[in-house]
Symmetry: C2
Subunit: 559 residues, 2 copies
C-alpha cells in the first residue's frame, strides 16, 4: 500500500497551473522572525462546564492564547523569536477529506524549513493506522511537487479516523517517542480535534515532550469560534455545491415542471446549506437548527413545503429547488428512530433487500447519516399531500413532480479554491486552540468539542430570513458558476463569512487604538476639564466592563 503514497503523477493542464500557484502568507507569518503576544489563558465556552473541563484537562487548560504579530506591531511585551532549533514534526490526516488538506502539509513544511533547514516533517501513511504502525514518509519538495494546491488526501491517505482507545493512544505515544517527534499535527474535523485535545493532555500527563496540534480541516464548517472563523475546505465545498444547485435552479426554471429536493452533506449542523443558499438563492432551505428550535415534526416540514408549492402554483410556477441539510434528520428524532427500526427489519429480509436501498448500512453512525435519503422521504410526503389536494380541488397547479439529489461526495475531492489554498497554507500556526476553546462536556462524561450550530441570532441567518420570502416566490436564482481560478468570482469569500463580521482580533486592535488616543490626549499639560471628563468617563467604562466580565466568566469567549 505504501508505494502508492507520495508518488509523482501526471496533472491535467489546470492542475499544473494550480500546482505553480504560491499562496500568500499573512504579514505576521512572513520572514524568519516570530513575534508572539500572549493573551489570557484559555477558558471554556460554557461556564457551567468549567469544572468538568478543568478536571479532564489539568495540564493543558488555561494556557495563554498566542497572538502572532506583524513586524510593525507595537507590543511592548511581545516574545520575539529569531532562532528556532531544528525540530521533528509528524503530520497525519484524520477524518473526512476536505479540499486544502495537502496545503496544510505544504505550508507546515515550508515554515519548518524557513526557520531551520534541518527540521524534518514526517507524514504518516494511511491516516491514524499509519501513525500507530509508525509508517512514515519524509516530506520533501520533490514529493510535494504534484500535490501543491490539489484536492484530496491522497498524498498520505487516511484510514480509521480515531485516536481514542487506550490501545490507540498508547500506540500514538509510542510512535511519537520512538520517532523523537517534537510535534504531532492532526488534520481533521470536530471528532479528530477532540481526539487531539485529549491526546495532548495524555502526552502532558505522561511527560511526553511531543506537542499535539489540531488543525480544523472539515467540509462541514462546524468547527469554529471567534478565533477560528472558518475551516479549511468549507469554501470549496460551498462553491462546488452552489454551482450544482444553481444548475438545478436553471434547469427547474427551464423545464418548469420539476421540484428538485437536494440534500447536502454537512453532518449535524446546517452551515453548508445556509452558505449555499446565500450563494445560489434556491426557493427554500430547511435548516436543522430551525427544525430543532421550533420542534417541527416531519409532517410540519412537509406541510410547509406543500403550502409553498401551492402558493407558487397560484403564480403559475410549477417548479422549484429545495435544500435539505443531511443533519436535519437528527433534528427530527422520531423519524430517525423509525428509519433505523425499518432498516433493521429490512436487513433480515434478504430476498427483497435489493429494493430496500433507502438505508444502506455503513460502518459508523455518521456515515450512515449520509445514507438516509431524507430528500426522498420528504418528496414522497409532499407528493402524496399534493395529490390529495389536487383531488380535493384545493390545489389547482400541475401534477407535483419531484427529482431528488444528494450532493456530497462529489465535492469533497475538488481542487481547492484559492481561498482554501491560501488559508490551508497559513494554517499550521493555529496551535493549541483546539485543546480548549469551545470544548464542553458530553453526556457520557468525556469532554468533546461540540460542533458549532448555525446561530439563529447571527447575521448570516438574518440575511436569509430577510430574503426568504423573495427567494421562495420570485425565483431570484443566482448562478455563481463553476469554481474559477482567474477573473470574477475567483477571489469571492463565503457570504456567511463576510456578513458575520467576526473580526475579533481586528476589533481588539481598534480598541487599543482608542486607548492610545485617550492616552495621547490626556497627558501632563492637558486642561483640568479634559482630565476631569476623561477620569469620569473611564471610571464608568471600567465599572461596566468589570461587571460584564465577572458575570460572563471571562468575556473574550462570549464576544
Amino acid at each position: 500500500m505504501d508505494s502508492d503514497f507520495g508518488i509523482p503523477r501526471e496533472l491535467s493542464p489546470l492542475q499544473q497551473l494550480r500546482s505553480q500557484y504560491q499562496p500568500e502568507l499573512p504579514p505576521c507569518l512572513q520572514g524568519t522572525t516570530v513575534r508572539v503576544e500572549l493573551g489570557d489563558g484559555t477558558t471554556v465556552s460554557e461556564a457551567s462546564d468549567s469544572h468538568i473541563i478543568a478536571r479532564a484537562f489539568p495540564h493543558t487548560l488555561g494556557q495563554p492564547l498566542a497572538h502572532f504579530l506583524r513586524e510593525t506591531a507595537k507590543v511592548s511585551d511581545a516574545h520575539i523569536i529569531t532562532q528556532l532549533p531544528s525540530i521533528r514534526v509528524g503530520i497525519v490526516f484524520c477524518g473526512r477529506q476536505a479540499p486544502g488538506g495537502h496545503n496544510v502539509i505544504w505550508g507546515l513544511y515550508e515554515a519548518l524549513k524557513v526557520h531551520n533547514a534541518k527540521s524534518t516533517l514526517l507524514g504518516f501513511l494511511g491516516g491514524s493506522e499509519g501513525l500507530f504502525a509508525q509508517k512514515t514518509l519524509e516530506i520533501t519538495d520533490d514529493i510535494l511537487q504534484t500535490y501543491k494546491n490539489q484536492g484530496g488526501y491522497d498524498l498520505l491517505g487516511r484510514t480509521k479516523d480515531q485516536i481514542r482507545t487506550t490501545e490507540q493512544v498508547n500506540a500514538a505515544l509510542k510512535a511519537c517517542t520512538d520517532l523523537k517527534l517534537d510535534g504531532l499535527v492532526i488534520i481533521g474535523g470536530v471528532t479528530s480535534n477532540t481526539d487531539a485535545a485529549h491526546l495532548a493532555e495524555f502526552f502532558a500527563e505522561a511527560k511526553c515532550s511531543t506537542k499535539v496540534v489540531g488543525v480544523p480541516v472539515t467540509t462541514n464548517g462546524d468547527l469554529k469560534n471567534q478565533f477560528v472563523e472558518a475551516n479549511v475546505g468549507f469554501d470549496t465545498i460551498c462553491k462546488v455545491n452552489s454551482q450544482l444547485i444553481s444548475n438545478a435552479c436553471t434547469d427547474a426554471l427551464s423545464a418548469e415542471k420539476y421540484y428538485y429536493f437536494i440534500r447536502l452533506m454537512g453532518r449535524k449542523h446546517s452551515h453548508v446549506a445556509l452558505e449555499c443558499t446565500l450563494q445560489s438563492h434556491p426557493n427554500m432551505v430547511i435548516l436543522g437548527e430551525e427544525v430543532a428550535a421550533s420542534k417541527l415534526t416531519i409532517f410540519d416540514i412537509s406541510k410547509q413545503i406543500c403550502d409553498a408549492v401551492q402558493a407558487r402554483a397560484g403564480q403559475d410556477k410549477n417548479h422549484g429547488v429545495i435544500l435539505i441539510p443531511e443533519g436535519i434528520i437528527e433534528s427530527i428524532p422520531e423519524v430517525y428512530a423509525l428509519l433505523k427500526e425499518i432498516h433493521g427489519l429490512l436487513r433480515e429480509e434478504t430476498g427483497m433487500r435489493l429494493l430496500f436501498l433507502l438505508l444502506h448500512p455503513e460502518s459508523d453512525d455518521s456515515a450512515q447519516l449520509s445514507q438516509i435519503e431524507t430528500e426522498k422521504l420528504l418528496a414522497y410526503l409532499v407528493e402524496t399531500e399534493m395529490n390529495k389536494r389536487l383531488k380535493e380541488g384545493t390545489y389547482k397547479g400541475k401534477k407535483f413532480n419531484a427529482i431528488c439529489h444528494f450532493f456530497g461526495y462529489q465535492a469533497r475531492g475538488s481542487l481547492p479554491s484559492k481561498f482554501d489554498c491560501d488559508y490551508a497554507y497559513a494554517m499550521m500556526t493555529v496551535k493549541n486552540w483546539s485543546q480548549n476553546a469551545g470544548s464542553t462536556s458530553t453526556s457520557i462524561g468525556r469532554p468533546a468539542i461540540h460542533p458549532a450550530m448555525v446561530d439563529l441570532k447571527g447575521k448570516a441567518y438574518e440575511l436569509l430570513r430577510q430574503n426568504a420570502d423573495k427567494f421562495l416566490m420570485e425565483d431570484l436564482y443566482r448562478n455563481p458558476g463553476p469554481l474559477q481560478y482567474d477573473g470574477p468570482g475567483a477571489d469571492a469569500k463565503a457570504v456567511s463569512l463576510c456578513v458575520e463580521d467576526q473580526d475579533y482580533m481586528g476589533r481588539i486592535k481598534k480598541l487599543q487604538e482608542y486607548l492610545d488616543q485617550v492616552r495621547t490626549i490626556v497627558k501632563p499639560g492637558c486642561s483640568q476639564d479634559v482630565l476631569k471628563a476623561a477620569l469620569s468617563v473611564m471610571a464608568s467604562v471600567t465599572d461596566v466592563l468589570t461587571t460584564i466580565s465577572s458575570s460572563s466568566n471571562g468575556g473574550q469567549q462570549t464576544a
Copy 2:
C-alpha cells in the same frame, strides 16, 4: 406564465463576464455575403431503408447538401447571395435543455439582422405548447442581454416536447401560417429533430412556405453523423461530469475504502460515459454498446466488476470508481422488463410505497429511464458476491463498500463551455440536414432519426480499450478540474471529438487540392509520358470509386 420569460435578471460576476463574451464565427459565416456550394442530394444511411424513407419524405428527400464557403474559396459554381429579403422566423425549444441553447437564438438573431435589419425573430414561449398557442416574444438585443452565453432554456422555457399528433402538427401549421413565418427553427435532440423532419415534409405537402430547420442541441451526443460531429451541450455536460467524476476519484484514492458507482445521464447510448472516461480516467466503464454486442446479462456485468475488485484488492487497492451509463439498462432487456414489473406491483401497495423509491414513475418512458437506479442494483449484486467470496476465502481484501451516485440534472443547467458558446452561436446555419441524414425506419413504420451509437470500431473506443487495463489497475486518475473560462483547459475540446478525426469537409477539401494539382501538372504543353501516366492512373481511380460508390449506395454516407 408569460411574464417570466425574457425578463432581465441579475447576473453573478462570472455570469456578467460571460455575457460579454463574443463568440467567433467561422470564416464562411462572416460578413454579409453568403456563398453556398450545393453537394449531392441527401440519401439515407441504410440502403435497405431507402424505399421506406423515400415514401415518407417525397417532398424533402434528395435535396442537395449545402456547403457554406469562405470568401477565398475557389468554387466555380458557388451560389453567391449578397442581398437577402427581410424574413420572419420563429424559434422554439423542444426536449431536454442543454447548455448553449440560448446562443442558438442569439446567433440566429444576429445573423438575421446582419443580412437584413428588418428581419424578425419570434421566440415561442413555453416550448411546443407555446407554438401551438401562438404565444410569442419578439427577440431583441435588450431581451438577449442577460441570456448571452448563459445556460438553461429559461429565456423561452420548454414544456411538452412533442410535435407529432395530427392535432399538434395542424396547430404548428396554423401558427406558422398565421404568423407569416418564413422559417421555423426547432432546437432539440433526436426526437425533436425527427419531429422537425416530419413537420418539414408535412408543410411541403400542405404547400406551406415555412421552412422547418432542426438544430441538434442535446446533452447526449447521440445526434451525429459525418456532417454533424458534435451536438451543442455535449462538451459542457462532459466537462461538468468529468469534474465531478474526478472529484470522486480523488475521494476514493484518499479514503481507500469506497467503490463509487456513478450512473451518468445520456439516454440509450454511451457517448457521455465514453467521453467522461477519456477525460477523467476512472477505473472502469461499462458501455451499453459493449453490453449489447456481447449480449451480457446483469450477472455477467456484476461478475466483471467483482473480478476487477478482487484483482485490485490483490494489489492492496480497496477503492475505485466505476461509470455506468443510464442507457445500459436498455441493453439488458430481461432486467428492464423485471424492474418494470416490480414497479407495477409496488405501485399497488401504497402503504409501503415510501420505501420503494427505487423506481419513481414519471410521465414518459425516457424520463423513467433516468429514474431506474441501475448503479444501486449493480452495487448490491457486487456487494453480495464479494461478501460470499470473502466468506469462502477466495477474496481477501477489505469489506466491499459501495457509494452510489447519479450525475445528470446537475450538469444540464450549467453555464455553457466556450466551445458550446461558439458552436451554438454558429449553429443556425445547419439547415435541412435533420430532414434526412441518418434517418432510418423504426419498427412501427414511422421513420425516425436513430440516435448514433458509440462506434465500437471507432478511434475513441479504441483509445479506451488500449488504456482500459491501465485505468483499471493503476489509478491513473486525471482531474481536468472545474469548467474554466480562462487559462489551461478553457479551450479544451472533447477527447472523442479530437481522436475521431471526422473532418469530413476537411478531407473533401484535401481531395480537391490533389485534383487541382493534377490539373496544374497535366495541361497543354506537358510531356506525353506525364499525360499517359495520368490518364492510366485516373482511369483506374475512377473505376475503383465508381464500383465502391454503387455498392455502398452513395458513398458519402458511409465514410
